[in-house]
């Protein structure tokens, strides 16, 4: 099970945070981000049909899956991965959600802007290692 890319998308479809682990060979640059962006429409539909924050797998691209998590203010955490191990994805996304709330609690952070914090970045990477094994 390997994850390829994780993106936090704000309310205006702007990326707030991006983490790329690996690109497949021979692929155009930024294909991962493009695939995730294309899945946003589907996520928008799902968001109004359920009260769960965790939206499971919303889309598929060739052999890759996209899972989504939508927070209370409709900020979307999107993950591009290649196999379906739901528990670790759910755990990872819930933990990143808590990190996001902590970032929000900083009054100097403008909601809807890019998250620059290095400690946030370090924490997300360590969570990824914990749930997906590096």
């Amino acid at each position: 099970m390997s994850v390829l890319t994780f993106i936090i998308v704000g309310k205006r479809d702007n990326p707030l945070y991006e983490l790329v682990w690996q690109m497949r060979k021979d692929e155009p640059a930024h294909l991962n981000q493009f695939v995730i962006h294309a899945a946003l429409d589907i996520v928008e539909d799902h968001v109004w049909s359920t009260q769960n924050m965790f939206l499971k797998t919303v889309d598929k691209y060739n052999d890759l899956y996209i899972s989504a998590f939508s927070t209370a203010s409709n900020v979307k955490l999107m993950l591009l991965h290649d196999s379906r191990s739901e528990d670790s994805i759910k755990g990872f996304l819930s933990d990143v959600y808590e990190l996001y709330i902590k970032t929000l609690c900083n009054p100097f952070y403008d909601v809807g802007t890019v998250i620059h914090s290095t400690s946030f970045d370090a924490r997300v990477k360590s969570l990824a290692k914990k749930y997906f094994g590096g």
């Binding site: 309310k11 968001v47 109004w48 049909s49 359920t50 009260q51 769960n52 924050m53 965790f54 939508s70 927070t71 209370a72 203010s73 409709n74 819930s94 959600y97 808590e98 990190l99 996001y100 709330i101 902590k102 970032t103 929000l104 609690c105 900083n106 009054p107 909601v111 914090s117 400690s119 946030f120 924490r123």
Partner: protein, 175 residues
């Protein structure tokens, strides 16, 4: 203050390492009154009209509203969020009001003719407790701050449209 190796005081952890617990749950009224009075004074200095003053206060409240929505949803509801307007309003007048002001809102009513209008009543908003409004400011009320909090929460959850008029707090919204 002692410094850790990164030059930061040792007792201050990075924000992301602190637990997201319930916290103390109470702040002294005087601390809030002091901070709020400074906010109102700052808005007053920058604003030229009463309308602008009101909308600046409302704007401050919006910043709070978005954060309150996320934080309290996480504390009270775990991994579920609101997709319908009326449950969101009940959440707002119940849990949110209790967390922010120590008691639930006095009333939540729906307008008789326009189905899209709702009114949340708070007879004694904490923002107006220590404020005296001069008569030339007309119908101004510092509860614009609270209206801003509500606005931040409602638009954070992607519902649209709010208009504030003072006295109590009137909300007019569409979805």
């Amino acid at each position: 203050m002692q410094s850790g190796s990164s030059g930061r005081p040792k007792r201050l952890q990075p924000l992301v390492d602190r637990p997201l617990s319930k916290g103390k749950g109470e702040v002294t009224l005087s601390a809030f009154g002091f901070l709020f009075s400074e906010m109102v004074q700052k808005c007053q200095n920058k604003a030229r009209t009463v309308q602008e003053l009101e909308s600046r206060l409302c704007n401050y409240g919006e910043h709070v509203g978005v954060r309150v929505l996320e934080l309290l949803t996480h504390r009270e509801k775990g991994l579920k969020r609101e997709t319908r307007l009326i449950p969101l309003l009940s959440f707002l007048t119940g849990s949110v009001w209790k967390t922010l002001f120590g008691r639930p809102a006095d009333a939540l009513e729906r307008h008789t003719q326009n189905e899209d209008e709702y009114m949340i009543t708070d007879k004694d908003p904490i923002t107006n407790k220590f404020v005296s409004v001069p008569s030339d400011m007309g119908a101004f009320s510092c509860a614009a701050f609270v209206a801003g909090i509500i606005q931040g929460m409602i638009s954070g959850a992607d519902f649209v449209g709010i208009r504030f008029s003072c006295g109590c707090i009137w909300i007019w919204m569409e979805h």
